[in-house]
């Protein structure tokens, strides 16, 4: 089995993660920009972080034969400081041209504040101007439903191309609206909180696999890249074929990410010899 981890925060993880992912069959990861574990005070700190995920992390992953791609953004958790965010956004275009940068993400909302919306809008406008793929974070708990609605409203207003936008962290109460509007929907799996592997498989069965992405949690909190393989195992236990597994856990990320020509990993299919 070959996997793609489409949402992996390597900077908060040890090298052992890469080794274990390689053992499990992960061939590529994509690392969205996110919170550093503390709020940064200087735009230069963000720019060094962008260098870290576009220069250094690919070398760490390569030691285990894993391809590493990334996304550039001011994450919603640090979007409250609008002037800082604007300084960072002004420097982002140069990074978008780097060979492993796939687009702008993760942007979006954390607490649905006015400042978060302002920074979200400005990064969406940049993405549309530069024809970039977009990865959008939605809030995690009681804010998620409202945050998803605000996100869909903004995307509609900006006339974003749904095929190039992935809205992440969907759950049972937000997935339908995201899919019905034509966007890609992502389910992020956590070992103890938020989305579980079984619930993710329930949604794959209920909504079908088109435009659905599955990714493990891998961040500063309780999280584990292995939730991705746990989910695949649950999908297999329910009687789905190996090709269906490949379609969900390898080919769907390829279908979305290859819209950026820098993504050069192709679709896989099983053949009998």
């Amino acid at each position: 089995m070959y996997y793609i981890q489409p949402h992996y925060h390597g900077i908060s993880r040890t090298t052992e993660d890469y080794e274990r992912m390689a053992h499990a069959g992960v061939v590529a990861v994509a690392e969205p920009s996110f919170w550093a574990g503390f709020d940064r005070h200087h735009p230069q700190t963000f720019l060094d972080y962008f260098r870290q995920i576009s220069e250094f992390e690919p070398t760490r992953a390569a030691q285990y034969g894993i391809r590493h791609f990334c996304w550039i953004a001011v994450n919603p958790k640090e979007a409250e400081n609008v002037s800082l965010a604007r300084e960072v956004i002004a420097s982002m275009p140069a990074f978008l041209d780097r060979p492993t940068v796939l687009g702008i993400g993760e942007i979006g909302l954390n607490k649905n504040s006015a400042n978060e919306l302002k920074v979200f809008r400005e990064q969406m406008e940049l993405a549309i101007r530069r024809n970039q793929l977009v990865l959008i974070h939605t809030p995690h708990l009681r804010d998620k439903l409202k945050g998803t609605k605000l996100t869909l409203d903004l995307l509609r207003e900006l006339r974003a191309d749904p095929a190039r936008v992935w809205i992440d962290h969907v759950e049972e109460h937000t997935i339908k609206a995201v899919l019905d509007a034509g966007y890609w929907a992502g389910m992020t799996l956590y070992p103890t909180t938020k989305m579980s592997t079984s619930r993710a498989v329930d949604m794959l069965e209920r909504y079908g696999i088109d435009r659905l992405l599955v990714n493990s949690s891998a961040d500063w909190g309780p999280s584990s890249p292995s939730t991705l393989y746990d989910c695949a195992m649950e999908y297999r236990r329910r009687g789905h074929t190996e090709q269906e597994l490949i379609d969900v856990f390898h080919n769907n990320p390829v279908r979305f990410l290859r819209q950026n020509p820098k993504w050069d990993i192709g679709l896989l299919g099983l053949t009998t010899v």
Binding site: R142, K144, L145, K146, E171, R199, E205, R237, R238
Partner: protein, 74 residues
Amino acid sequence: MLTETNVMDRYFLDCRCALLEVAAIMDRLPSSDAACAADERLRLLRQAIAILADPGAGPDRAERILHLMSDPIG
């Protein structure tokens, strides 16, 4: 897709375990504490448990509980 028997065979023990965890957490609540009784989160949990116990519910219990625990969207 799973049949009803399959679901019980496969998930009964997981479900039993999850319910016992919830029951034990509720048991830890001080029964005489007025502040605890007025806690909005406890009210939400009790409403969520009622959704679980509803024999007439459709296959949307998880979605209903998430809606229950969401901010109004205005």
